[in-house]
Symmetry: C2
Subunit: 446 residues, 2 copies
């Protein structure tokens, strides 16, 4: 069926230097805004150039980038030293400063990462489907780059290279906006990439003005940017979602959970709960909530609360949990605990009425990231896997596996908490789009 269009549209212009201002606005951009637009416009042209390259040439770029990063090591260390000094002067926490630091070892890891991505199979050019219609037109659904990807991320210099390289591998130009704490390091890293003769002009762009007011402005550059990926805290994601005219793939919070079913192997349950909470609490696939089936609460609540306490975890339990483990120090959980991403050694614990109680809790409070059921009952497990609406649902495994590396993707741009285009770990394929290529012999529609 065709879509009849009742309303004649007003003209809208398009890309490139000749962009006519047809929206009827008289744009009065500040100098900083004009610079952002110029940089996004150049990225669009960079994407156009990338799209014309054979995929082998895209991989060649990554070789040159790895070599160039090694060559530029002194400049990168010198720039990083400025960031480290500023961070220390500002009294930042040692763990934050450590994440900011580029060492011989971490640079070598970055470079090795680039060479690893270079070796990954090239998703571009894949024929996703190909068929011939009765009238003889041949239709091919072909995997192609998305175009220009804007990524707003936190202050870890390795993310800068990761993001740019994954996008280049898949033929996409990037507009990168990192945190201000890493600005000197990011400038040096991106300068190294831009020096590579195989990297088209505009293909990697850094917004080196970290004024937060420019983020909403960036989110309105839909003439030049095809998708925006915010990776960071709640307020960043909120700003981007509220302001963006560009499609957003959110890498938002994970309020993940484990549900211990009445028929769980309790030793396995303990092992998985501890792993999912304690092994690395500061990441989005760690659990924040433990749901315990009432049928097994008398036994499991004392067992797990003791084990968690021993592991240094602060427990926030509902009344039933507190009653079942009177000897363990358990804080009273409030409503807010069911939706809080602690990213710390804190766990909210709740007793629920069987599978349906777990479903009710998850429908109301889960962030739809990763949820796991521990049970020996396959019927209960399959209902959980089917009915829980999360990006990744588990049966008898730790939620910590929601990760591109653990999935075998070889690389990951992040973990999407959206349901469109990309859900869960985003690898190379998720950085691509498709087009329909139709070859005919003069067919017309009758």
């Amino acid at each position: 069926m065709d879509t009849e269009r009742p309303e004649t549209t007003t003209p809208t212009g398009d890309l490139l230097k000749s962009w006519p201002n047809t929206r009827g606005e008289s744009p009065a951009y500040s100098t900083a805004e004009a610079q952002v637009r110029e940089l996004c416009r150049d990225a669009r042209e960079g994407a156009r150039l990338l799209a014309t390259l054979p995929t082998a040439r895209l991989d060649d770029m990554l070789d040159e980038i790895a070599n160039q990063l090694e060559k530029e090591a002194p400049a990168i260390f010198a720039a990083n030293a400025l960031d480290i000094a500023a961070a220390e002067e500002a009294g930042m926490h040692k763990s934050v400063v450590d994440r900011l630091r580029v060492t011989e070892k971490s640079l070598a890891t970055m470079v090795a990462g680039v060479r690893q991505v270079r070796k990954l199979p090239q998703p571009l050019g894949e024929k996703l489907r190909s068929w011939t219609q009765p009238n003889g037109i041949e239709i091919t659904k072909l995997r192609v780059p998305i175009g220009v990807i804007a990524i707003i991320f936190e202050s870890r210099p390795n993310v800068t290279i990761d993001a740019a390289v994954l996008c280049l591998k898949t033929g996409n130009a990037t507009v990168l906006r990192g945190g201000k704490e890493a600005i000197h390091s990011n400038r040096a890293l991106i300068a190294a990439l831009q020096k590579c003769s195989s990297v088209p002009k505009g293909a990697v762009q850094l917004i080196d003005n970290t004024d937060r007011a420019l983020v909403p402005f960036l989110c309105r550059q839909d003439e030049f940017i095809d998708v925006i990926i915010p990776r960071g805290g709640h307020s960043l994601i909120e700003t981007v979602v509220a302001e963006s005219r560009i499609p957003v793939i959110k890498h938002a919070h994970g309020v993940c959970s484990v549900f211990v079913h009445e028929k769980a192997d309790l030793a396995m349950a303990e092992s998985i709960v501890l792993n999912a909470k304690v092994q690395r609490p500061g990441v989005c696939n760690a659990i924040e909530t433990l749901l315990i089936d009432r049928a097994v609460a008398a036994k499991f609540v004392p067992q797990i609360t003791a084990a968690l306490t021993k592991a240094g975890v602060e427990i926030r339990g509902d009344e039933t949990v507190r009653q079942f483990a009177p000897d363990v120090k358990i804080h009273s959980a409030t409503e807010a605990d069911w939706t809080t991403e602690y990213l710390d050694l804190i766990l909210a614990v709740r007793v629920v009425d069987g599978l349906d109680g777990a479903f009710k809790h998850l429908a109301a409070y889960s962030s739809h990231h990763s949820d796991s059921i521990i049970t020996t009952d396959s019927i209960a497990a399959e209902r959980f896997l089917n009915e829980v609406d999360s990006a990744t649902v588990y049966w008898n495994a730790s939620t910590r596996f929601t990760d591109g590396g653990e999935f075998g993707f070889g690389a990951e741009i992040g973990i999407s908490t959206d349901k469109l285009h990309a859900r869960g770990p985003m690898g190379l394929e998720e950085l691509t789009s498709y087009k329909y290529v139709i070859r005919g012999t003069g067919q017309v529609r009758t």
Copy 2:
């Protein structure tokens, strides 16, 4: 790699009746707004119920819907008569009134459409990929419904049923917001669907308050709605894109083109140009622009301008076009003509310098919907198919084939002009998402 999260997120609540207001707002909703929220909330619950149904039950729903629509025919005709009377009283154009009219025949077509969709292969439950990691976890990428889909559309009653039925087939709840001209018809049609005992409560929702101010409000109901699909004119799409917190799949304008290359078969070129412009000018896959290679302009410009004029097409040409066809009435094209979707018997014609001239024009002005090259030169054709960044690119065929029916999809919710999730004609598969289902035996991450 894991995503470290430097900023502890503030709690955000989630779905369903118990939704706590954790954004710190004190929402003072108007009665109309509160009704929209309630309806969206019910749709979320409807989606949850749909997700628990076996796919055979989803198809059963469509059988009941088809029967129910037949049963309710008198009520539907009576309601439609109110819309027709109002439209005639308002002095609407006959073609608009005709599109609004539900006749015995058009209702039968609607019902047949429902039965056709019922017969289409069910995309849900497809294992898109399935593999086992070295640690033994089994990962399945499973096709699942998106959830709640909001569709804002123009005033054609058949779209109401099409949209609801395609979404139900794929296990999605819908929030429909049609035009006010069809409000009585839409109420009767949706009432018929809601009467079906197999359709879960909340699965099909109609916003029957057509106050335009509620559209931006709807676009902010991201707790309840997973994607919003606007189908309509420029101002609607602009409003949705600017206001939406919800991912949008735009069905925006098509400024499609044919490029006649120097090595074109000019008889084929004439046939395709006429078809793409004249056969049905009011649809998005009709062409608005004709690009002619300078090398063949002296011959083809007089030929095609005469043929177009004979077919009743108004021509807006650049100076070169006017010079090559001094005897044909050709208006002077302005900058705005290159970006205008006429949806009428008007065509902008430009002479360009070969393939690169065509690329330059398209990069600057194409709406990236459908563009076709006419040539006998396969190298030129392949460059065009590769380098033109449009949803559908053609070689020697009419752009009018960009259509779910013509692609053999059996059904179509519309034609996406976005690059994420769905590009080009959207069939059933494009109404689905996926989840990762992981089955383990106690694996933890080390």
